[in-house]
Symmetry: C2
Subunit: 328 residues, 2 copies
């Protein structure tokens, strides 16, 4: 294992310290490393807080700032943050309008955020994201939450910034989650630092179709396919499950899993666009890059969200975070 680090014990804290130092105009890091919060709080808005295991950067701390999250709680790598972290974040950023936790659908995260919501002195509710169409059941809890989480954070974040109440934000989030599907493919495994070896073995000519963002198995292990074939398989699975209205506009995201370069991601975007067009769908909004990663995994995922005028306008709304910025 070759990684830029000093020790596995200090790796996460040193990275968080660097992140907070680099982006100190936008975010602040809690002294006990429990959460990253928005430096310029907005009084009277619902506090949006997310979090999860580290190793998926820039998710979630990279999306703290104007128009997205108020705080993010980083767990250890691939490990849920604790309820204490979430409550501390809530106490730091809540301004009385309530708290909405945005939670990826993994048993540990759901359990800890549920506990945290009960422990909060302010009214707190949770929104669970489960956009991965690859597998129906990962453990006990249904579908996994993957790259669609970033889209939910952007759209719900824009509505929160505009002053929506907690009930409306939860309904919006449920609706965006329902309009969003993702599926990914891995060319290599990630390597968790504390483990020191790849999470799974994969041959030099193989890929894992439907991989999870922690290296969980997908639908099948196959020989490496051409980009057009990969795009067809992923878009087919997404569209079959999503059943978008014919001729509708969608947001198309091609997300890198960590070690795949921009050249290849934009090629996959081209291939995925053609697959959408074949099915009568138009990507009126697009995003390509490393947003929801799996450490040093080579691979990518495709996410499609059905848009309407409201969602398009929320997507276009100003955002100013370390990892996503426009119209500010």
């Amino acid at each position: 294992m070759k990684k830029f680090m000093n020790s596995t014990e200090t790796m996460l804290r040193e990275s968080l310290a660097g992140f907070a130092l680099c982006h100190r105009d936008i975010v602040a890091l809690d002294g006990d490393f429990r959460f990253v919060s928005r430096r310029q709080a907005k009084h009277g808005k619902v506090a949006l807080i997310s979090g999860g295991g580290s190793g998926h950067e820039p998710l979630h701390a990279g999306f703290v700032g104007h128009g997205m999250l108020d705080a993010a709680c980083p767990g250890q790598i691939f490990t849920s943050p604790t309820p204490d972290q979430m409550v501390a974040a809530a106490e730091a950023v809540a301004t009385g309008a309530g708290i909405l936790f945005i939670v990826k659908n993994y048993a540990g995260d759901v359990m800890n955020f549920t506990l945290a919501a009960e422990m909060c002195s302010t009214h707190a509710d949770s929104l669970v994201i489960d956009d991965d169409v690859a597998v129906e059941r990962s453990g006990q809890g249904g579908r996994r939450g993957v790259a669609g989480t970033m889209i939910v954070e952007k759209l719900v974040g824009a509505a929160a910034e505009a002053g929506a109440g907690i009930g409306a934000l939860k309904r919006l989030g449920v609706s965006v989650n329902g309009a969003t599907r993702s599926m990914g493919v891995a060319l290599t495994s990630c390597t968790a630092p504390a483990v020191g070896k790849p999470t799974f073995d994969i041959a030099g000519n193989e890929m894992e179709v439907g991989v999870g963002i922690h290296g969980e198995p997908g639908r099948r292990r196959v020989a490496m396919m051409r980009a057009d074939e990969i795009a067809e398989e992923l878009v087919h699975a997404i569209v079959q499950d999503l059943e978008p209205p014919s001729g509708c506009e969608v947001l198309l995201m091609v997300n890198g899993l960590g070690a795949t370069p921009s050249l290849e991601l934009h090629l996959m975007y081209n291939a995925a666009s053609r697959q959408l067009a074949k099915r009568g769908l138009k990507a009126s909004r697009s995003i390509v890059g490393n947003y929801v990663t799996s450490l040093d995994m080579a691979g990518c995922s495709i996410t499609v969200t059905v848009l309407n005028d409201e969602l398009t306008s929320l997507w276009d709304a100003p955002v100013h975070t370390p990892a996503l910025r426009w119209r500010m």
Copy 2:
């Protein structure tokens, strides 16, 4: 070799098509794939044009837009674009105020941009970037141009947007290049698609200190070091060569070479900041991410630019490109 592609012959064009489609609000792609240009031209400004071999994305096409480049010419992977491409770009974006080519210091690029400048009907000049302190001579031509190129493009781009003339822009560029030094380290080799195998062999416990962005050899091959040791070696080499005034403010860039995740890059930023502080230098401006890459190479580079009030204000000026956006 596992890459997202359909064929090595079509890879670059398909990626450019995806890039142009995804970012069609900002850029346009020439029908013959000769250049990417800014969709909303600004009349009367000096045209800034860069280019070079592909494989370093987002450099250069990702920096076309308000506040940076007017056009970028993508060569084949790791191969200079042709003078014809540069002249076509110049004819498409020049508005009569002259053309400044921003050129990384490699023999092929320098020769082709020089030829193009002679062929242009509008007055054209060139600015050569050679920020890599790792080696004094790579081939015949002196130091290599690496990640500092992006900083030059940002600062000179901001001045061009503000209306500076071609003479002033060239002087500014020379001055920024002189105030900028970089050095990188590779943990793995890149693999050029047409070659199909890694550019160099490197053992599972080794790193290449001072690597070039095409996989050129650096200063030495050593056993993997701790992040603090790597940061110390890179910052030491940079500062020794740059000789910044004591106590001055600098721009610190930690640039990923393609396959290194954000978690590690921010940890390296933290380590590099401490090394600067030890030498009495303060990073008053910072940037961390994949900006000048080497295909799928794992590794990073550190770049330091000595700032003054003028350069700080140019760095802070609005920018709106596919890969760099703020204050718009």
